[in-house]
Symmetry: C2
Subunit: 683 residues, 2 copies
């Protein structure tokens, strides 16, 4: 008998072949994704340091309890700032190191929620007292907004901050169980201080709504919780995710803080208890916008991780029919599979670059905001709302698509994608519940529509902001949707225009049916408006490719971006067909098809087929190391079966041949069964 | 200042009100779901016993390691069979108790995979030797099919069973790393025996493909692994789910077993090594069909659990706008939310009853199969394949919809729905990867189409099996799709017919484009065919309601079933619009809508609105106790905030005021920061 084919050796061969057929410069595309070779090298250097440091070893974490994972997270955090000193890392370097830690660390809440809010809104006096301590983590802070009974809707928070003119103090109080601050990251066991959202009550009982107050929570000497506060961890999260973060609760029992502790840069209280009006009521949203603005790029990197793992695994996994080499086919060769996976690559590439472009814009807006310029705040708010919904929903779905594409092995914890999914999952509900955000996008779209048509003649297209530029299509009766022809899907223009038409017609429809909207209108409009905005940006990105990339790479990335647009069109088919926007010309191939969507579907399949030989290269361009991915199925060299085998040997259950459960439970069960079988008649 | 409204007291008031407005007999609908009051009472009695037994306490499991959860699972299993003795439970009672245990126990693999395959395929000799022991769990078995390198495609398994005529033995061997049996439930640390799928090699080296062999794995005296076997647990699963199941691996090094150990009821080997042909090649699929046939009802119960939790929480959670009572509105009152949740109720109700009807049919078919009647095997195979994809995909999605509908708190482990999701998730990939199953449905549909038109004149509609009955629509040129009018969505007929037309036209399209199918055709056709089949069954179920239920309850359940049909239509809109099946009449309300799907969307919103006052009642009818749901957000009395608070207090991190991480990591970090802040210039 001939020796069996060695499938596990074949894996490395398959992976080598896939890389050999890559026909573009991976390094160039990688540098493009990382905004330059220098950025990439910096990241690689930091990664080398972390991956060799025992604190950042990931091999045991899957067996740890949640408590151990929290303690490990704090050890990682401390080590990270030790390394900062040792290697003289810049703040940007530390941010890179934090993102590389592959843990949702409590300190992120200090850095991303607590510190920015403090910087933006503390009075000069409070700022000078604490800013240096905060910047160096001499105190660790958290941002206490959400309550047990109230989420994003800050207007209904129950916690009160009552001003006592006699002592020039505020009294922070939790009047009910539901007013307990809840979900507050870093509060549970770590933070020494916090910024708390509370209703400002001035003498006479007048409620001025939510304001921010700086409050100490734990002793700097003993870390004991200070009197009047009841503080703890809210317990584990779904899927065991976010274990390192001590999301916490806090109740305040008439805790006094000095008047200076109000974050009063934009709204204050006089010594006597008079209210000093803020210049712009929405200024306190600044913090949330800051967090949201990074979500597009972050979603892209999350999809990128899942896509890298799934594409590598599908490249080495063989299954089903025999291929030309006499072996079962690589699963990625099945159109049904790669038509699901290559679009993940496309979305990752688009979101990473789109997010970078947007973040730069947001930073400029935020600078204006801090000096009181609020002219772009509404626009910024709508854009981030819609984008947050779009990218979080998409990334969650894509990570699960990646996991599921790997069949049975995708359900192993060692596959790693489950963990990516679980840690990313709260993006759908934190920083604004997606449904609430959709409503805001709808409202803004209706407002823009009304503003446009409220004048006679209506305002010119040039007056439209980027988020409502699609409305220009309604201004000119001469404009008609594009007719679909054989070339519609090879260039980006038709897809972009169709998505803009869809937004325009859906917003128009919404204005016509305001009196009796159906229950799905909000979500549809929000999605349509946001996708039109993104499509236009992708069009601009395509236009700029030749300036940044060489010809071969630019042509490849253009294809990737076009695939993004086509799959967006595919997901929008219900709207496009409903509103008569999908007037496909007969394709004649084959002549008897009655499906108007067939040309689009074939175009997507063709484009995926064209990108298929570059799929491993395009995922290599994300630049992830094996340590970063922590996935047995996504290893760079393709040796997935050896890796799964090796990892399984570390399972604690395998450290004793006979399980403890044997004496306690299995043996009694077997003995009982054997004695029953002996006494009972044969079946 | 007036005392704050007590939101947590309001919860119980809201829940009471919701129950007060229930206008049907919950008990009657519950008995209908459980197939009779006696079944329900039996379940309730068993539940009472389990929920009071300390072995089945769930309060600590969220903090346990995977190893502890496995050991707990075995203790639960042993206890369960002790209770069987104590209470003289029937096998059906034990099955109820197992389903109530709320754990994926290893013993399920013995009961559902190992024993049925053994019963179906063991020779009379082998059967008489082991059947009584197996039935009483005097030995514990597993079913070893999947290998590290191969999944559902049994044809390519590598493990060999070579017949040695000299000693009348088979030699079981794992020739490569990838031939390692992998994912085998109960193998890792529990099973004493197994049925292994291996390629039968007869003298001369002829490979007869996969066959089944009975093999001992561990000593019955010491539980040590027997010589020649390398066995262990494959490690943790995604999201920490399925922790109690010891999915295992096994390698065999030329292990000899007696010839009698071949499961040879349908295929055997002569003493000399000649092959005895089986009467039907697909007989070995029997085991998988058995498992799949229970999946419809099971999916229904899973959705039911998630829906119960989400609907109860949305009934007591208040958020956003103020309602007529001056309080924030109950979140379930928002159409955008209940239009997402009520359809979950509908799908749960449909799948539970549909599954029961199908299982009865399958049992009859299985009885025929065991006596050699294979005439319905193909039909049964197609139906279970399509249904398995449909219900698993749907239930996974619905559980996540339920979880996400609860906003931030839905991400707490205490919400419970994350766990339901994670434990159900592998349904998408086990027992046949969904994509492979879709292909089988497509292939069967094309075959049925060809068979129908291969005769002149084509065969009559009466010859069509239930799974291809929709093809009758293509037989008569006079038949045209229904035109949509104002009443289309108030009765089931139009929706069912539309779904059948969609299946017919998609299958026809598939036959026309076979030469160049697009990459999504398989999935679309499979879905369309299966949904047409289900829709027709739902139509029959509606027809039978008045025989089982009183008028009021029958009318209510009819509405629930119609909602199922309408939301299926909604999810099929791309197909319906593409193939010109959605020819909506102008609704005139409001006159200027251009959206042909508007009437459907409004009908769904209206129906959800009508069912809204019954939503809590309809979920109460599932009959879950708090112990069963194990969800702080789904408690029967609505006291969600008290429950969340109480559960958080048990978090291990909260058992010491100052965390162990303080001395080790937090304090060094704070001190470093403070010293840096003291020496650095103020920012």
């Amino acid at each position: 008998m001939a020796p069996a084919h060695d499938h596990s050796k074949q894996n490395a061969i398959d992976m080598d072949k896939a890389r050999f057929q890559t026909s573009f410069s991976i390094a160039e595309v990688r540098d493009y994704l990382y905004n330059g070779a220098a950025q990439w090298r910096r990241r690689e250097q930091i990664r080398e340091i972390l991956s060799k440091d025992a604190h950042f070893d990931k091999s045991k974490r899957v067996y740890a309890t949640r408590k151990q994972l929290y303690i490990r997270g704090q050890a990682i955090t401390n080590r990270l700032y030790e390394l900062q000193e040792i290697h003289r890392w810049s703040p940007d370097d530390v941010a890179i190191a934090l993102s590389l830690s592959d843990e949702n660390l409590s300190i992120n809440l200090h850095n991303v929620a607590f510190e920015p809010v403090f910087r933006l809104q503390a009075s000069p006096e409070l700022y000078s007292k604490y800013a240096t301590l905060i910047a160096n983590r001499g105190i660790i802070g958290c941002y206490l907004q959400t309550e047990l009974g109230h989420g994003t809707n800050v207007g209904h928070l129950e916690t009160t901050a009552t001003y006592i003119p006699e002592t020039r103090e505020f009294e922070i109080n939790s009047p009910s169980l539901t007013s307990t601050k809840w979900w507050i990251g870093a509060l549970g066991k770590s933070a020494t201080h916090g910024v708390v959202q509370a209703k400002l009550i001035l003498p006479g009982g007048n409620d001025f709504g939510p304001h921010l107050f700086f409050i100490q929570l734990r002793s700097l000497d003993t870390h004991q919780v200070l009197p009047g506060r009841i503080i703890g961890d809210i317990g584990p999260k779904a899927h065991g995710a976010y274990a390192a973060t001590d999301n916490g609760f806090a109740r305040f029992d008439h805790v006094r803080i000095p008047k200076e502790n109000m974050l009063s840069k934009f709204a204050g209280v006089t010594d006597e208890g008079g209210y000093v009006t803020p210049p712009h009521a929405k200024l306190s949203y600044g913090g949330m916008l800051y967090i949201r603005s990074g979500m597009v790029t972050s979603a892209g990197w999350h999809i990128a991780k899942g896509a890298t793992v799934a594409i590598r695994y599908a490249t080495v996994r063989r299954q089903g029919e025999l291929g030309p080499d006499g072996l079962e086919r690589q699963t990625i060769s099945y159109p049904s599979l790669h038509v699901r996976l290559i679009p993940l690559l496309a979305r990752a590439h688009v979101f990473i670059k789109l997010g970078r472009a947007l973040s730069e814009g947001f930073e400029a807006l935020a600078r204006g905001l801090s000096s009181g310029d609020t002219s772009h705040l509404a626009e910024m708010h709508v854009m981030t709302s819609g984008l947050k919904v779009l990218v979080s929903t998409t990334a969650i779905q894509d990570l699960e698509t990646a996991r599921r594409s790997m069949g049975g092995h995708g359900y192993s914890a060692f596959a790693g994608v489950g963990r990516m999914y679980a840690d990313y999952l709260p993006a759908a509900t934190y920083e604004g519940e997606n449904f609430v955000l959709d409503q805001q996008v709808l409202r803004a779209a209706l407002k823009a529509f009304r503003a446009l048509f409220s004048m006679t003649p209506p305002r010119a297209a040039a007056s439209l902001s980027p988020s409502s530029y699609y409305l220009r299509l309604l201004l000119d009766k001469q404009l008609v949707p594009p007719e679909l022809g054989p070339d519609s899907w090879t260039h980006p223009a038709t897809a972009i225009l169709l998505l803009e038409w869809r937004a325009a017609l859906l917003v128009h429809e919404a204005t016509q049916t305001l009196a009796a909207p159906d229950a799905t209108a909000t979500q549809r409009v929000s999605r349509a408006v946001t996708e039109a905005f993104v499509a236009a940006r992708v069009g601009e990105m395509i236009g700029g490719l030749s300036k940044t990339l060489k010809q071969r790479e630019a042509a490849l990335v253009e294809k990737v971006y076009i695939l993004y647009l086509l799959t967006t069109i595919e997901s929008a088919l219900v709207d496009l067909l409903s509103f008569g926007l999908f007037r496909a010309m007969p394709t004649g191939d084959p002549p008897r098809s009655r499906d108007p969507t067939r040309a689009l579907r074939l175009a997507i399949a063709t484009l995926c087929g064209e990108l298929l030989p570059q799929a491993v290269g395009l995922s290599d361009a994300f630049g992830f190391s094996d340590w970063e991915l922590d996935s047995a199925l996504g290893v760079y060299d393709g040796n997935v079966y050896e890796t799964l085998w090796a990892r399984a040997q570390e399972e604690p259950l395998n450290q004793t041949e006979v399980t403890e459960a044997y004496e306690a439970s299995i043996r009694p069960m077997l003995l009982r069964g054997q004695s029953m079988a002996a006494t009972k008649p044969k079946l």
